[in-house]
């Protein structure tokens, strides 16, 4: 962005303390009157150096670190990381463990979308909506807590399996929570579609066409809202996703309204996936039999090689590129987060919009700064 300011222009700094984005995110917008002429995203407020940390930790220790890349997607981050190690070491995950992983990762998607929608609604002035979604998210978190023993950073996956089995009565608890959650999602949708103010702030705002979205490298709900049915769960299946019935939620418009709608549909789809999993889940061991892998594998050497493994995060394509040199620590880990390109695409997306819409557009991307600044 050109720092020079004309006579009728000014630069407004949004963040890092502006309520528009939680966490350390800063957007410098150059305005002419009410219109954004140019903008620039500044990163690097909390660079955690996670890639460097991972090089200095054993594989098992790494699991607790990848949780913290973005704590709303802790389980999918683990899946990408653990999946890399499993590919390198040639570990087969037994079916029961795979089903448990799918269940937990879909729960992770639901809670992330609930927070994303609530947060977004509060950005455009629906502050009470945030309370509703947080209340419903709490039930989902309690269910996750009953399996993993943690609410946010789970450290639940292990090489070759999962830490614990599902507790007794889990299926009934899920049924009870889902009965409420389905009603809640319907009521959110009804509220969004019937409220005139909400519609005028979202319909036709921040339109991202499929071509531009592909060029920017966007994935996940913002991409599917433009009509591109790209979902790694279906296009490059991992775990037991090929055995499950689900559809890829797509919208046509590519505007803010469509992005929120995709997330609402995906929550329903995730609930459907979890119910199928709970019906289909077979009995069996949690770890491959006859191997040294188990709940604790303190020192483990991984054969030399390199692998790229990607999964569908709540926000899009989460990939890990891992290089192993045969020792007990990875030689290099590259994290490909879904939000990195999305955030990079903000300046072209914001060109020419009104200043009040900055918040609506940036918020609807459901960006997680922590993940970009890893």
């Amino acid at each position: 962005m050109d720092e020079k300011v004309g006579p009728s222009e000014m630069i407004v700094h949004l963040g890092p303390q502006h309520p528009m984005m939680p966490g350390p995110f800063r957007l410098n917008a150059k305005l002419r009157g009410e219109t954004v002429v140019d903008s620039e995203v500044e990163m690097g407020w909390i660079h955690k150096g996670i890639e460097k940390i991972l090089e200095n930790k054993t594989y098992l220790q790494g699991i607790t670190i990848v949780d913290r890349i973005c704590y709303l997607a802790a389980l999918t981050n683990e899946e990408a990381y653990v999946g890399c190690v499993e590919k390198l070491a040639g570990i087969e995950v037994p079916p029961r463990a795979q089903y448990i992983r799918v269940i937990m990762e879909e729960f992770s998607r639901i809670q992330s979308h609930l927070l994303g929608i609530g947060e977004y609604a509060s950005f455009v002035g629906f502050v009470s909506m945030f309370m509703y979604t947080i209340r419903d998210r709490e039930d989902v978190m309690t269910l996750m807590d009953s399996v993993t023993g943690a609410r946010v950073t789970h450290s639940f996956l292990r090489f070759g399996g999962v830490k614990d089995d599902l507790p007794e009565g889990f299926k009934d608890n899920v049924k009870r929570v889902f009965a409420n959650l389905r009603k809640a999602v319907d009521s959110y949708e009804e509220l969004f579609s019937s409220d005139e103010i909400y519609r005028s702030r979202t319909v036709g705002i921040g339109v991202l066409t499929a071509e531009v979205a592909k060029d920017i490298g966007v994935s996940g709900p913002p991409l599917r809202a433009t009509g591109v049915a790209f979902d790694i769960r279906r296009d490059e299946p991992y775990l037991v996703y090929p055995d499950l019935d689900f559809k890829v939620c797509v919208q046509k418009a590519g505007d803010v309204y469509a992005r929120v709608q995709v997330r609402l549909d995906e929550m329903r789809e995730s609930m459907y996936i979890i119910e199928q999993c709970l019906d289909q889940i077979p009995d069996g061991p949690l770890f491959p039999e006859g191997t040294a892998y188990g709940r604790r594998t303190p020192v483990m050497r991984v054969p030399a090689g390199e692998v790229f493994h990607r999964v569908e995060d709540p926000r899009g394509e989460m990939g890990f590129y891992m290089i192993s040199d045969g020792s007990d620590k990875p030689y290099r880990v590259k994290i490909r987060g879904p939000v990195y390109p999305t955030l990079q695409g903000l300046p072209p997306l914001l060109k020419g919009v009104r200043v009040a819409d900055i918040v609506a557009i940036a918020g609807s991307m459901d960006t997680c700064t922590s993940e970009v600044d890893r």
């Binding site: 990163m43 690097g44 660079h47 150096g49 890639e51 460097k52 592909k214 060029d215 920017i216 490298g217 591109v228 790209f230 296009d235 490059e236 390199e306 692998v307 790229f308 990607r310 394509e317 990939g319 590129y321 290089i323 030689y331 290099r332 590259k334 490909r336 990195y340 390109p341 990079q344 695409g345 600044d373």
Partner: protein
């Protein structure tokens, strides 16, 4: 289109520039590429083989071989093959042409690789630090021989 036809197409188009090509599985290819022609290869991939999605781009440091690898992981929205391209650069003066004209979103990846590894991207639109403060430039923290930032660590600041 499967992985093998893609490799054939690539090696016919760039006979001497691609080497060590490996098909890891039906959907994964690894190839090394001469750094001079990286933009041409990327352009060809994007226009002819519909590799339109740059997943990521990063550096890997090999002090033993005195090399830095720049790795491009390129996927597609239309098929599920992912291609890993590697350009090998000398460690003392790593320089490579920027692929921003081909893949728009390479911009931030290249800025990050520049400040963490010291890879200079020629003709990059705006090569300045992204995630680190400017006075860390020249430290190259993700290189293997990085031993901290001695004068400015938290311990010394307090």
């Amino acid at each position: 289109m499967d992985a093998n036809t893609m490799i054939d197409s690539l090696s016919t188009q760039f006979p001497n520039a691609m080497y060590d090509t490996k098909v890891e599985s039906k959907i994964r290819i690894i190839a090394k590429v001469k750094p001079e022609i990286i933009t041409d290869v990327c352009k060809y991939l994007k226009e002819n083989l519909s590799f339109g999605h740059l997943c990521c781009e990063f550096g890997v440091d090999y002090p033993g071989r005195n090399e830095i690898e720049v790795v491009y992981v390129i996927g597609s929205y239309d098929h599920s093959v992912v291609l890993t391209l590697k350009a090998i650069l000398p460690r003392d003066n790593p320089e490579i042409e920027s692929v921003v004209p081909v893949f728009w979103n390479a911009n931030w990846y290249e800025r990050e690789t520049y400040e963490l590894f010291g890879v200079k991207y020629l003709n990059h639109p705006d090569l300045k630090p992204l995630v680190l403060p400017e006075d860390m430039l020249g430290e190259w923290p993700l290189r293997k021989d990085y031993r901290g930032f001695p004068n400015k660590t938290a311990k010394n600041l307090v």
